[in-house]
């Protein structure tokens, strides 16, 4: 379901791990508006209540140091989408809010003049954010927000099984095919794919497509310079159709829930799992074997990680407490906050992090390192669902499900995507 994706996005976003159970969330509550030392921070509602506690405690350190009170308000992603614009326009909105870092999220608000320009603040405070991440919150040369944490999507694999069977991590689609054949003959499901929830389908397409056409190709798709019904998109979809027919995937992948797909990997029933970095924490908790993480292979090479940004802080253009808001955003953009999210939420902050001395698992350390390499000029693909309209997303979720069940051909899906993109 769409909801799942949105909620999934929400979960992975660093700053928004808070929940409603503490009674701090008073949407629309404006008590203390007259107090310049009190700001309201609106974040997407997470699912994990335990994480809220730690976020609140973390924010409390800021409150203590700065003397600024931060009132945390939460809303589910779906709701925020409908009410955020209205709230910001009405002037009753939050002072600081976390929102998706892509052009269809923060960018859309910025173009409507609802967000405070942070270009100068970057200069003054010396925020060190990866350039490719900063681009996502840049509109017409002005930087409007601090990007949220990074999510990469790629292929996790079970190193133990690979070693036992003498397999190497695949570095091309050809390799992947060979590896999958080997695994299949060893009675192991090659790739754990579950698309019952529909949103994982978006990630499947994002991976194969990013690795096939690179970030340039993806950008052309988003800008409309490249058509969604072009042969590369069809080929990227055909790949999953083919894997399904070859039985590289579990039986009836559209019946497999995301949770089941995870379990298949943890229990060793499946040797690889194409999904995202948000699962790193759980991998460490649940897999009693060493896990490797590679980009999904491309047609002629190792391919690239695809990914996107979660939600990061923006300041409302209408706030009357710009200074306090800026001070708080400075806190959220600091490397210290980044390190804190690494340790507590196992997410990848949008700035370079020195993992030395941090309490991180080898897998997470590797993921952080890979990310740092991307910023050194490596290519980085896109997670489609955060870059396109709801209509395209719907077409994509339905389309991948349709391809996996044989209801639709890759060509039909590509046409649907193009039609939705033109709406």
């Amino acid at each position: 379901m769409r909801t799942s994706v949105l909620k999934g996005l929400a979960l992975a976003s660093a700053g928004l791990l808070a929940t409603a159970c503490t009674g701090t969330s008073t949407p629309g509550g404006d008590e203390g508006d007259g107090d310049a030392q009190s700001i309201r921070w609106l974040i997407e509602e997470p699912e994990d209540a335990a994480a809220l506690k730690s976020l609140e405690q973390h924010v409390a350190t800021f409150e203590k140091d700065s003397g600024i009170e931060v009132k945390i308000t939460t809303l589910p992603f779906d709701t925020m989408r409908t009410v955020l614009q209205t709230q910001l326009r009405s002037g009753e909105g939050p002072d600081v809010f976390n929102w998706g870092s892509g052009p269809s999220f923060g960018g859309a608000l910025a173009r409507n003049g609802l967000i405070y320009d942070l270009t100068d603040a970057y200069e003054e405070n010396g925020w060190e954010i990866y350039d490719f991440a900063k681009e996502e919150v840049t509109v017409d040369g002005k930087v409007y927000g601090v990007p949220g944490e990074l999510e990469t999507i790629g292929l996790f694999y079970n190193k133990e099984i690979f070693d036992e069977l003498g397999l190497q991590a695949p570095e091309s689609l050809e390799d992947l095919d060979a590896v999958s054949q080997e695994l299949k003959s060893a009675d192991i499901i090659p790739m754990s794919v579950g698309d019952k929830d529909a949103w994982p389908g978006g990630h499947l397409l994002s991976m194969t497509l990013s690795s096939a056409i690179g970030s340039d190709g993806m950008e052309q798709l988003f800008s409309g310079d490249k058509s969604w019904d072009s042969p590369e998109v069809v080929a990227a979809l055909e790949l999953w159709q083919d894997y399904n027919e070859q039985e590289y995937l579990p039986e009836s992948p559209t019946s497999v829930a995301y949770e089941t797909m995870e379990t298949m990997f943890y229990t060793g029933k499946a040797a690889m799992i194409p999904t995202g970095s948000w699962l790193v924490g759980e991998m460490d908790d649940n897999a009693d074997f060493e896990v490797g993480y590679i980009p999904f292979p491309g047609p002629d090479g190792p391919g690239i990680f695809a990914g996107g940004l979660g939600s990061g802080p923006f300041i409302s253009a209408g706030t009357s407490k710009t200074d306090a808001a800026l001070e708080f955003v400075d806190f959220l953009a600091s490397p210290e906050h980044g390190e804190w999210t690494v340790e507590n939420f196992h997410t990848i902050p949008p700035q370079p992090i020195d993992t030395q001395g941090l309490d991180v698992s080898p897998l997470l350390a590797q993921v952080l390192e890979d990310t740092a390499q991307i910023s050194d000029g490596g290519d980085f693909g896109y997670n489609i669902d955060v870059k396109v309209s709801d209509a395209v997303n719907e077409a994509m979720y339905d389309g991948v499900q349709g391809v996996l069940t044989g209801q639709r051909t890759p060509e039909q899906v590509a046409e649907d995507l193009q039609a939705a993109a033109q709406e």
Binding site: M1, T3, S4, K7, G8, L11, A12, T19, A20, C21, S25, T26, P27, G28, E45, E47, D48, A49, A50, T74, L75, P76, D78, T79, T82, V83, D197, Y258, E259, E262, T263, Y266, T267, W278, L279, E282, N286
Partner: protein, 283 residues
């Protein structure tokens, strides 16, 4: 059932045993989903990971406590009451008042008023749920206990009024005439004479409305978009939709959601059944 007893010969007994056998088998099939929920909810977390649906293979309260605290089902539980109790009271009180008026009191505009109630009965909530969202937003009642309680109440009022009207209609006309001769006021007739005679109806309506509102999914899903006051039904749904969920706490959450319903149902089976039967019997 009289004829049955008279004819219990050997063949009949055999057939009866066979029937019981079949009935027991069928009732186990019917309650199986409940058994499965309890079994999964009471497993140890590690057992859930490996064998979520094997029946009663281990025992632990851990999933329940996880769902209650980390999964917020404790809050959802409380919220379910905050949404169900006031709305049920509202339905029962207003329906009893309205039912009495429609059944026994001639007043100007009764025809039109009654027509509106009929419309409320025939039009599904679906038809107007979308505009109602924006209306509530405009009224500032979105995301509020008050708003959702009023909506829940309004969806049950038409049925409640009908239901109570039928009870009041069945009371003999001599009752109020006698009371009137004794000098009772209209209020007194309603409260002292008539009301005590429909308590069984009120009981059935209360239980029925409580269950309906407790189980309602769409109203809180739509009109409590923020997390505050989220009840068990939508809480369970959102828990289910998470990017990464554990079946153990999910089963425990499911159990927490249905437990009050089952307790109420078993304890007040008569009232529950009567609520559902009312249409058939009274009509």
């Amino acid at each position: 059932m009289k004829y049955q007893k008279a004819r219990l010969d050997t063949r009949g007994k055999l057939r009866l045993t066979g029937k019981h056998f079949l009935l027991i088998a069928l009732s186990i099939v019917m309650v199986f989903p409940l058994i499965l929920t309890i079994s999964t909810a009471l497993k140890t977390p590690s057992d859930v990971k490996l064998n979520p649906f094997g029946l009663f293979s281990s025992f632990s309260w851990e999933n329940i406590t996880t769902a209650w605290t980390v999964g917020s089902f404790g809050n959802y539980f409380l919220n379910s009451f905050l949404l169900t109790v006031p709305s049920t009271l509202l339905v029962v009180v207003l329906s009893t008042m309205g039912g009495y008026a429609f059944a026994r009191l001639p007043f100007p505009g009764r025809g039109i008023a009654f027509y509106v109630v009929v419309v409320g009965l025939l039009v599904p909530f679906f038809t107007y749920m979308i505009p109602l969202y924006f209306q509530l937003r405009g009224m500032g009642l979105l995301d509020s206990l008050l708003g959702v309680n009023l909506v829940l109440a309004s969806t049950g009022l038409s049925f409640g009024t009908f239901f109570m009207r039928a009870f009041f209609s069945d009371l003999p006309a001599e009752l109020d005439q006698a009371a009137r001769v004794d000098g009772a006021s209209e209020w007194q007739i309603f409260l002292r004479v008539m009301l005590p005679l429909v308590t069984s109806g009120i009981g059935a309506l209360s239980v029925f409305t409580f269950l309906t509102n407790w189980n309602n999914f769409l109203v809180p899903l739509l009109y409590i978009p923020s997390g505050e006051y989220r009840p068990l039904t939508t809480g369970l749904y959102l828990f289910l939709g998470g990017r990464s969920i554990d079946i153990g706490p999910l089963a425990a959450g499911t159990l927490i959601t249905i437990l009050p319903v089952i307790v109420l149902f078993v304890a007040m089976q008569k009232q529950v059944t009567q609520g559902f039967l009312s249409g058939a019997v009274k009509g």
